[in-house]
Amino acid sequence: MFYREAGIYKTSYAADQALFRIPLDRIFVIGLIAVAYVVVPMVGNQYWLGSILLPALILSIAALGLNILTGYCGQVSLGTGAFMAAGAYMAYKFATNVTWLPIPVVIVLGGLCAAAIGVAFGLPSLRIKGFYLAVTTLAAQFFLLWLFQKVPWFVNYSMSGVPTAPPREIFGVLVTGAEATPAARYIFVLTFAVILALIAANLVRGRIGRTWMAIRDMDIAAELIGIKPLNTKLSAFAVSSFYCGVAGALWSFCYINTVESSAFDIFRSFMILFMVIVGGLGSVMGSFLGAFFIFLLPIALNNAATTFGLPIATETITHIEFMVFGGLIVFFLIVEPHGLARLWQIAKEKLRLWPFPY
């Protein structure tokens, strides 16, 4: 009743090819973005903006990146954390050595460096696939983190090896570093998330996205109809690593305020893979749903334990968290392999018929 596709006529090619072809969808997304920009910073307090929404948004960007690679192009990667680290460290180098660069440019440059590294580690994907590839991406994970940890050049020969992110402003408002207000950082990250999500949504429905999906569905058949595996796979690696790099740079600059490799360990890579699976492989919306779900779940578990006054040690909660994560992954793969995004779609279909299902 509320959500309908019937009776919406498209009278031009532009309308037929629009990103949101149904007015309700468009209104919903624009409304959501408007709420995120205007209402949330006004209502949200320091804790919600700085410690929940901000990291969840950054992880959404990373999940979006992995979803492009795994969900759309079918190449499983366990090295997401390393590409995030590459973005963070290179952005730090740019920010400290070329101080006049505006901060968004710095973060995009960090992402571009991550993309270049991603292409280098994506090269094996031309010869190997499936879990063989997953294992070789572990090489990126361990090698890059070791490199950033051991070579002091990456941290400008800082004594501690864990430098703080330099404070930078846009239009006179601090957006990075520890002194920036959570609201400013939140808006900054939100802008990145919105722009990158729009780019991703348009990429995947265009020519590039279709070649990715063709390679994912059957690479030999795709090659036979004239899709070059080299360009397609490497472009997926490049775009994916760019997203992860931007996410890593934002994580270091806006959330933890330090540049350290322990933030990007293999556990992070798995977390992001879980976000993609739970959210929905091959869905932009799903990346956001998955990231919020997986990030908020442990917090919710913790809060549930304290609200109900259960005498559970924090350590036990971590263990339960692991069990819940593992169980959820298996559950989603069995019951709903398309993840939360598919549930969302089902909800929309139900709404279309509600309240008079036939």
Partner: protein
């Protein structure tokens, strides 16, 4: 001359380390051969089995009883995995199964720590722990523990090979590995075979876990080290038991060599390039295995002894 002996010592200790990886990799190969599932959870199973074993020992049970109960738990685990996970994922893409085993791995890690706690448990079941000094004036050191571990690994591999070759179940396992459908059509129960193979992998995991645990203490942080079995595996080829052993030896020696000889060389290179000193590049071991495996796969995607990959549209 003593340099040569030192080299030999590094070589040997690398090979022993390799047999430890091979022990974990063996479990992967078993499951992959019989069910085509790339079982990411094998490393966690190793630690879970060891943790159960240690847990029972700490309760005061004798070694044999603790071992039998642990094997029982691993068999129960195999049943649970088959019933609750694998059965529902038949006919899914291999990569979906792979991701499911990542989920299983997380669950098992949480479950194990939930029951037994996250502390490091020391384990001592009487594996000799001294050292022999050989060579002229005893310059070379052989760790007795490493040697016993290698012997245990060898016995395990040999008995598995015999089991596969001469028993009825072993033949059924090989049939399933060759062709699921053909095996089903001659009346081999696929589900039971899966349970058996996961149980055998659980047993291998227990042995590996006991050896690893005696060496390093039983704790789940070891699952990162157990991940090293993956490059061992792709180097040897997924489907080959000897491949797992040889892959383990190559990786084990390679990374010891890289750590002892490669890291100082790289340090001097970096120092020469950047003009700074005090660069320490230790810890090459952490990533070397993966990088070797990556380069290796570029040239031989099916691994050393793997079956040739043939693809059809």
């Amino acid at each position: 001359m003593s340099e040569f002996w030192f080299f030999l010592e590094v070589l040997l200790s690398g090979m022993f380390a390799g047999t430890m990886y091979a022990l974990v990799a063996l479990g992967f190969v078993l499951i992959f051969k019989a069910s085509g599932v790339f079982n990411f959870a094998q490393g966690t199973m190793v630690l879970f089995a060891a943790l159960c074993f240690v847990g029972f020992l700490e309760m005061g049970l004798p070694i044999a009883v603790a071992g039998i109960i642990s094997i029982g738990i691993m068999i129960a685990w195999a049943f649970a995995v088959e019933r609750l996970v694998l059965r529902h994922l038949v006919n899914q893409a291999p990569i979906i199964l792979f991701m499911a085993t990542i989920g299983i791995s997380f669950f098992l890690e949480g479950f194990g720590e939930f029951i037994w706690g996250g502390d490091v448990h020391p384990l001592d079941i009487g594996i000799p722990n001294g050292a022999w000094f050989v060579g002229p004036e005893g310059v070379m050191l052989i760790d007795q523990f490493d040697l016993s571990a290698a012997v245990i690994a060898g016995v395990l591999v040999l008995s598995l090979a015999l089991f596969f070759h001469y028993t009825r179940i072993g033949r059924a396992l090989r049939a399933v590995a060759d062709d699921h459908q053909a095996a089903l059509s001659v009346g081999i129960p696929l589900n039971r075979i899966w349970v058996i193979v996961w149980s055998v992998a659980g047993f291998v995991a227990l042995v590996a876990g006991i050896i690893w645990g005696s060496r390093l203490g039983v704790q789940f942080a070891l699952s990162i080290v157990a991940l090293k079995a993956l490059p061992v595996l792709i180097l040897g080829g997924f489907t080959s038991v000897p491949g797992a052993i040889i892959g383990g030896l190559i990786i084990g020696t390679g990374e010891k060599m890289a750590e002892i000889y490669g890291a100082p060389a790289m340090e001097s290179l970096v120092t020469a390039l950047s003009g700074t000193d005090s660069v320490s590049l230790g810890g090459v071991e952490e990533w070397f295995a993966y990088v070797i495996a990556m380069f290796f796969l570029l040239f031989r995607p099916q691994g050393l002894f793997g079956e040739r990959i043939i693809e059809r549209v």
